[in-house]
Subunit: 193 residues, 2 copies
DNA sequence: CAGAATGTTCAAGAAATTTTGAACAAAAAT
DNA sequence: ATTTTTGTTCAAAATTTCTTGAACATTCTG
């Protein structure tokens, strides 16, 4: 649930990586082995920012790190670039990227003559909000009617408390109506930023 | 992060409780020891509903259970009533109740001549939304300006990427503006339900 | 086609969170 | 003042979630 804020290390100190090949070095100034984990101050600050922001949504650190890195880097980065700079495992990077992709929070960039997929951060509030709502909120709302029905059917008619129970059902129905009103509003407003 | 939905038992099967005193039995029909864990079908369905809903916000099962029980029960319940009906520990019940109270999701009910504190569920969407935003969203927004400043100060002037970095800062500033616009809207609309 | 490069999956381990239960504190009753 | 009732706190245990890394699948290259 996370009530108190604990200090967390920003970049892992462990040096083990998958031992894989070096970066494709999509165009930034740094060079090869010497560049591992070398992030500029803006990138470091962005990692801190997004790890914190994503944690507010109870999302894992690795996802915040990946988005933060892409957000703060002008060039598109490959999976290996991300692994190398963040010192995270291939598995984390792959799954984190998959999650961000499904949300629409990262954009694939097709570079002619380059095999590896490269990504940049999507920063449009409209797209981010839409993706988040679609992937993480709508699924819960979609089975709302079904859940409401189950609740209704659980009422035993004629019991002394059934009148109270019906009023509770009414409340829940109202909550769903509220969600139905507010979500389009959020999307609409997000479109203006 | 929870991507796939796993089946979770609704009511614990273990029978150990704190071994404490029996319920004050705030007025419902059931009696003493025989009533332990005896929930009607509406209450069971409500538990399922709220455990699921709270899980969507990454909140622990115990909190969903407590709110679900209070929501589906007409009488005010005491800490011991909750422990007895949900078969959860005193610690969970106490901390869960504390959390719900700080949010404003439960209301203390003062019963004349009764020592134990009793609670009912708060169901007003306005109060629930306000409490949630106040306790769980605002804290993150409040240090927004500070975080934005740190981000700005991390830019090294004159670097080739500093122009890109400034445009990113602009995006983040926009996100904060959006939050400043949308939250009052949410509160206002919640007031109408 | 064989070999290399790239990316995914998932079992096992690590880390974080939640729950328990007993010790403790506070308030009320006797 | 002592005992009882009520509720809180927190270390340890249980559980859940995240990360790792190696095996696997797939696609490209020569």
């Amino acid at each position: 649930m996370e009530t108190t804020v604990k200090p967390k290390k920003l970049v892992r100190t462990s040096a083990r990586t998958t031992g894989g090949s070096l970066s494709s070095n999509g165009g930034n100034g740094s060079r090869d082995g010497a560049s591992r984990g070398a992030l500029d101050s803006f990138q470091l600050q962005a990692l801190s920012f997004f790890v914190h922001a994503f944690a507010a949504l109870s999302l894992p650190r690795s996802i915040g790190e990946i988005y933060g890195l892409l957000f703060s880097t002008e060039e598109a980065l490959s999976l290996d670039d991300i692994i190398e700079r963040l010192l995270i495992s291939k598995g984390s990077a792959s799954e984190g990227l998959r999650w961000l992709r499904s949300l629409g929070a990262v954009n694939p960039v097709y570079l002619p003559g380059v095999r590896k997929e490269h990504f940049t951060a999507e920063t449009s509030l409209r797209k981010l909000a839409t993706g988040y709502l679609r992937d993480r909120i709508n699924p819960h709302l979609e089975n709302g009617p079904e859940r409401l029905r189950l609740l209704q059917e659980s009422i035993v008619e004629g019991m002394p408390q059934s009148s109270f129970q019906k009023s509770r059902i009414g409340q829940v129905a109202g909550w769903y109506k509220f969600m139905g009103k507010i979500l389009p509003l959020v999307k609409a407003l997000a479109g203006k930023f």
